[in-house]
Symmetry: C2
Subunit: 355 residues, 2 copies
């Protein structure tokens, strides 16, 4: 329990920044006048306005957002509770969040959450709780959360306080707030259709170990759906194997799959990590990529493009847009608008690991 150290005597005195009081004194007007000018509200004579503005400029005046926040009961901060960056695509989302926040005169406050077990996307719950509490403590005006049902109590608290909440990337049906995510089903559907259309023959799928979230199930469904459209009699479930997020997991799963079904002309993996393991397994089995077998991942992580020997085909999530839209929703909600969930379109990126 770290207590703030008392500033010692040699503590650097911050050169006092000017306040509206200083401006008012110099301009010989009241505080209110200055405030009105600075906020561009009310009606002020041209002369006064100019004088105040000039003096403000001269004094290098910067409004004290803390004081303003205290009065308005706002922090002008939007909180983000998102997974930490080893899922590098989160960065792009954060970039979107930041850009939009700044455009709206807000500032993002990011509280990272860790995974207890990255392989299963298993969030560290106490850490998640703490991150949300931090945002509450900082009195953010709205919160973007990568949700987990095990902290429903805090979500309820947030909602009780009428703090706008937006889910990102995945959604809990039982949490009544909008969600911004990608159309996961369409992502794998497009990928599967693409391969099937190219005539690679039968294709396999590496799905999540457990479908704790709808989004994981959606990715699987997309594959099944495309497959069944292609061959009504087929039983694609036969060629889908459970895997986890890791390279190692994908590797092992693909090894099994390729042993059981060496005729496969393509494999779609529910994540880029798994796809990477898949590539390794194919190499080991002596399969040439993409001539003999095509591999497509999901997410478009940074490393997908930066594969020294074989840039990975993948389904890209529109990450910046996800972040920006989430912020825009928050902003609308803060201002009393009603908003609803949004599902964005994924994009198939064909690189060298597939035809």
């Amino acid at each position: 329990m770290q207590k703030n150290v008392e500033p010692s005597d040699e503590a650097p005195e911050t050169k006092k920044r000017s306040t509206i009081k200083d401006i008012a004194a110099r301009a010989e007007v009241s505080l209110r006048t200055v405030s009105l000018v600075l906020n561009n509200t009310g009606s002020i004579s041209q002369a006064t306005r100019k004088r105040v503005l000039d003096i403000a400029q001269d004094l290098n005046y910067q409004p004290n957002i803390t004081a303003r926040g205290l009065v308005n009961n706002r922090s002008y901060l939007f909180g983000g509770s998102v997974p930490r960056a080893n899922l590098s695509f989160i960065n792009a989302i954060i970039a979107g969040i930041e850009e939009k926040c700044v455009a709206l005169n807000y500032e993002p406050l990011l509280a990272s959450i860790n995974f207890r077990d990255i392989a299963q996307l298993d969030t560290d719950i106490p850490a998640l709780e703490k991150s949300l509490e931090r945002l509450l403590y900082r009195r953010v005006d709205g919160i973007i959360s990568f949700p987990d049902r095990r902290v429903m109590k805090i979500y309820r608290k947030i909602l009780d306080h009428h703090i706008p909440l937006v889910q990102i990337l995945r959604s809990l049906p039982e949490l009544s707030c909008p969600c911004i995510k990608v159309d996961n089903l369409k992502g794998t559907y497009d990928a599967a259709r693409y391969l099937l259309g190219k005539g690679v023959g039968q294709i396999g799928f590496l799905r999540y170990l457990n479908n704790k979230f709808d989004e994981a199930a959606d990715r699987y469904q997309g594959y099944l759906q495309a497959y069944q459209e292609w061959d009504r009699g087929a039983d694609p479930e036969k060629w889908s194997v459970p895997s986890d997020l890791t390279v190692q997991g994908g590797y092992e799963a693909a090894l099994h799959l390729l042993t059981a079904a060496p005729h496969l002309g393509g494999i779609i993996a529910a994540t880029d990590y798994a796809a990477l393991g898949c590539v390794r397994a194919c190499r080991e089995k002596g399969k040439r990529i993409p001539e003999e077998i095509s591999i497509i991942g999901f997410d478009d992580m940074e490393f997908a493009a930066y594969q020294g020997s074989l840039p990975l085909s993948t389904v890209r999530q529109p990450k910046e847009s996800l972040g920006m839209l989430a912020v825009e929703h928050l902003y609308r909600m803060v201002n009393g608008e009603k908003v609803s969930s949004m599902i964005l379109e994924p994009e198939l990126i064909v690189r060298e690991s597939s035809i």
Copy 2:
């Protein structure tokens, strides 16, 4: 110029959070007493203390950090002005910053900066200026900056206001504030010594196109130094070629190098990106890695480990530590302590792209 929209009538009213006034009323004591109890200062009778604490708990009291900040003239925010994540290792630094901030009851406010030309690490200066101004506007209590001499004017302003400033990753000698960075020279020195010691024979180096910053020069020096220790008569400059940060740049540079010096048994690249291009060039030249030639990068970017076919050997920067130390420095400075620069040790990570 986005002006905040007036909250409309249907704006959700935030359920009022309790204040010390509420506590004081219920406990029938003065505001001061409550404040003293809550801050654990002054001397309060056990009975009163307990009563106040209980009521606070009961009322679900959370201090209003905005109000507290207004009085104390602090924001309890540390600002970070760091490159955006396409240099993915920045994430780890940010993780360190965040962790340490939270431990100190601070919160990080991160203002990303973009590169105008990533290939030359060329910062987008107007964007950098804006990011620093944002932090100033938010009245952060200290700033961590990835410095650039073209915004010296703002740094001067920050220093004038006596806002603690810490440089990270690289340092400007003319900027009088501490810097936290890695020993770049030692990084390449260790890598070169390692390869030389393994008996790979002559080794080459892909250095920055232009050594605008000492850190780039240091990486080159490390290579030169190790080389000269190994063979006093050698002229290693002959086998070093200018490159840029990109995969493509490294690829082209390595191609030249390998044509001019096909006997090279190893190449060290000043960044992992360049190393990746290097790998590609070697493959094209029919060189087997690592049997015939060893490749070592620098930074340990996420993709270095996640190379499907050939995980990259590299020099790792202790990224979390860099971030944590920067925050710790800021904290010390806020509290009037004197601190000085720190140079951390890099670590050679041997994976599969080198012996």
